[in-house]
């Protein structure tokens, strides 16, 4: 890995961690469980487009572990990991089909994130009723995913000029 690439990925990981923290400061998203803007996904989608799923996995994992250790606990860490990894897996597969643009990939990722977390929640409380919550959650995941996707699209466009594939 070139030094340049290490620096780029480091910066984007730092950005993802800061965005996690910024997001946790918005009160409405702390009282409604699972409802998030998904700002850290901005960095993950950008890395997914600038590099590949491997680098995106690295950034996502380091972000989740870092934030989990700094601000969370074992439980929130495991929970984030489930949503984050499932979301990245789905985004990688959808991107490979080349059917959707960056906004679409991020939108699907947003919903997948919610789906992964609801699946874990169902297992934890051993009650399938909680799955009803997926519907309102997925609507917000969809909207947040679109927003993040649009922003990532702009970032990728600009970063591609100064950071050609390394």
């Amino acid at each position: 890995m070139s030094t340049k690439k290490t620096v780029h990925l480091g910066l984007l990981t730092a950005l993802a961690m800061i965005l996690s923290y910024v997001e946790s400061l918005i009160p409405v998203f702390t009282t409604v469980p699972g409802m998030k803007l998904g700002l850290p996904n901005l960095a993950v989608v950008t890395v997914l487009y600038l590099y590949s799923w491997k680098e995106a996995l690295g950034v996502s994992a380091v972000r989740i572990l870092g934030v989990g250790i700094l601000f969370g606990n074992f439980f929130s860490l495991a929970f984030s990991l489930a949503g984050g990894l499932f979301s990245l897996l789905v985004m990688t597969l959808v991107k490979k089909t080349k059917l959707l643009n960056c906004t679409g990939v991020s939108m699907v990722g947003g919903i997948a994130h919610n789906a992964g977390q609801i699946a874990i929640a169902t297992v934890l409380v051993e009650n399938a009723r909680i799955a009803y919550y997926f519907i309102p959650l997925a609507v917000t995941g969809l909207a947040a995913g679109i927003l993040v996707g649009l922003l990532s699209g702009l970032m990728v466009k600009r970063l591609q000029k100064i950071a050609p594939r390394l």
Partner: protein, 136 residues
């Protein structure tokens, strides 16, 4: 508009319609949060008979639910393990988690619930509380 943008727009609309449809059909879970009260045998009133009305169904790790009538103020202390606890309160027709030691306290922050189908979840302690209606 290129093909990818068009596909994305179509998918976004399709997903929204699908979710709206799912919401309309299930009522967000409210429709199924209903229990038929068992009929009293031979006109005798069993001590455990469920009166019609709203209840808080308190379940931990999928065990048999504990039904708390929302018209009777109650406080119960639940233990998941020896250290892990949640305090569930019923007050003025609402149910809420007053305190817990689950770390993130999402269950406490979720606040009071009073409408059929509403729920409170404490994932670290496997606790699930939802408002259920018992019909005659």
């Amino acid at each position: 508009m290129n093909k990818q943008t068009r596909n994305t727009l179509i998918l976004a609309l399709a997903l929204l319609l699908l979710l709206a449809g799912a919401w309309a059909i299930t009522g967000g879970g409210a429709d199924s949060a209903q229990i038929q009260a068992p009929e009293a045998s031979d006109g005798a009133t069993a001590p455990t008979e469920l009166l019609p009305g709203l209840y808080a169904s308190v379940e931990q790790h999928g065990q048999e639910p504990l039904l708390l009538p929302l018209w009777e103020d109650t406080v119960i202390l639940l233990h998941d393990t020896e250290e892990a606890f949640n305090i569930v309160c019923v007050q003025d027709g609402t149910v809420f988690v007053a305190d817990a030691n689950c770390g993130d306290l999402t269950c406490v922050k979720m606040g009071a619930m009073q409408t059929r189908g509403d729920f409170i979840a404490c994932l670290p302690h496997g606790l699930f509380v939802y408002v259920v209606e018992v019909t005659a």
